[in-house]
Symmetry: C2
Subunit: 234 residues, 2 copies
């Protein structure tokens, strides 16, 4: 028995805890997630989420933050605990329970592309999820429906956007999250009345001759609606 446990707990058999991360981002107006080639046996070489064991000196949440930081170089990322997966035989290597987290990252940030490539990670589209190792596919599916549920009542779509963005881009992100087209006019009307957007006196002219206005988020309103809830039911 391990010595960091008090004697009352001695007859309990310990196990391992792992954290797996489902990392969402937007690329080409599509919702994507990061996957990897698994490096450790068993099942080395298969596709997998990024994960790690929880170290004895760190909390489960710290483990999730560490994993995310190691991969992306980012801190203070939007992160939600998804679920604890605890089937006895979920990992053929031993008794390992997994705590899955999902997170949203802005893909436009410095060094992110570099870090992702260094780790040989790949962005894959969420509508064609390949076979993944262990129960990771189940985790991904649960994460997607969790994300959708959350996105209906909290303004979290914004966590995926770059610093400055157009309404058209935001619309595409929401379409990607919900997986169906959204009425343009209703979307604009709602968002412009939400107080979440601060109009900028510039246009992005990269996608049309006319150009479309750029916005940034109103952090204050964002924080408020994160707490209170807000219907994005499109």
């Amino acid at each position: 028995m391990t010595k960091y446990l008090s004697p009352q707990y001695e007859d309990v058999k310990p196990l391992l805890a792992a954290v797996d991360c489902i990392i969402f981002g937007v690329q080409d107006n599509k919702l994507k997630l990061l996957i990897f080639k698994r490096e450790v046996e068993p099942l080395a070489g298969c596709l997998s989420l990024l994960g790690s064991f929880v170290k004895i000196e760190e909390s489960v949440e710290e483990a999730a933050e560490r994993i995310l930081f190691e991969l992306t170089g980012l801190k203070d990322i939007y992160m939600e605990q998804l679920h604890c997966y605890g089937a006895v035989d979920r990992d053929p290597g031993g008794r390992v329970i997994a705590i899955a987290y999902w997170s949203l990252i802005r893909v436009d940030q410095n060094h992110l592309e570099f870090n992702v490539r260094t780790h040989e990670a790949k962005w894959i589209s969420i509508d064609r999820i390949p076979e993944l190792v262990l129960d990771h596919r189940q985790m991904v599916e649960m994460a997607i429906s969790n994300l959708r549920e959350k996105a209906r009542f909290r303004p979290i779509g914004f966590e995926l956007m770059p610093e400055e963005f157009t309404l058209g881009q935001l619309l595409k992100v929401y379409e990607a999250i919900f997986g169906h087209p959204i009425d343009d006019r209703n979307f604009r009307k709602k968002l412009l009345n939400s107080g979440l957007l601060i109009p900028l006196p510039k246009k992005d002219k990269s996608t049309s001759r006319k150009g479309s206005f750029l916005f940034k988020f109103n952090q204050e309103t964002y924080q408020k609606l994160l707490l209170e809830g807000y219907s994005f039911g499109f």
Copy 2:
């Protein structure tokens, strides 16, 4: 190192996983939960949720079901995984992560009262939660808000009701869950149109001279709305 782990996992330090259960029920038209006097050191004698370590041969979910069964004698109970609590020092006895579950039980069932008393459990009101051991109080608060959130969009209030019940009782349960009064007429209108209730040709005459009609659930509609969602936003 324990022998049930494969060699690749050998340099990872194992830890213990516990399950803690937040058990909700309705008594005297109030929402209550079950708490216990903790029997094991550390902190024996303090108030606590019912919990147990996850055994090496059972899944986390099975552990939760086992705990619930040992206490109540009930199976097939409505149960939701709440959260995994993984702070390093959350348990002074060692590195223990806890997976919390909440569940809803019908208090009218056979032997339940007996079992509860045998285990020296107590029903306590959710608006005056006493100090609890470790991080259990935090769990309870999170469970309550999780329950409220869930109850707004799924017909789970029914899981707390006896086999046959009146609309008045159901109303009280929803008031207890949400913690505020609900308009009588709107509630009836909505519920009677939901297809969730099957009227019975009897009255409960224990609470008034006139008596009030009894209902039971429409299991079929219930299952459907559990999947699809249904707004109980009162």
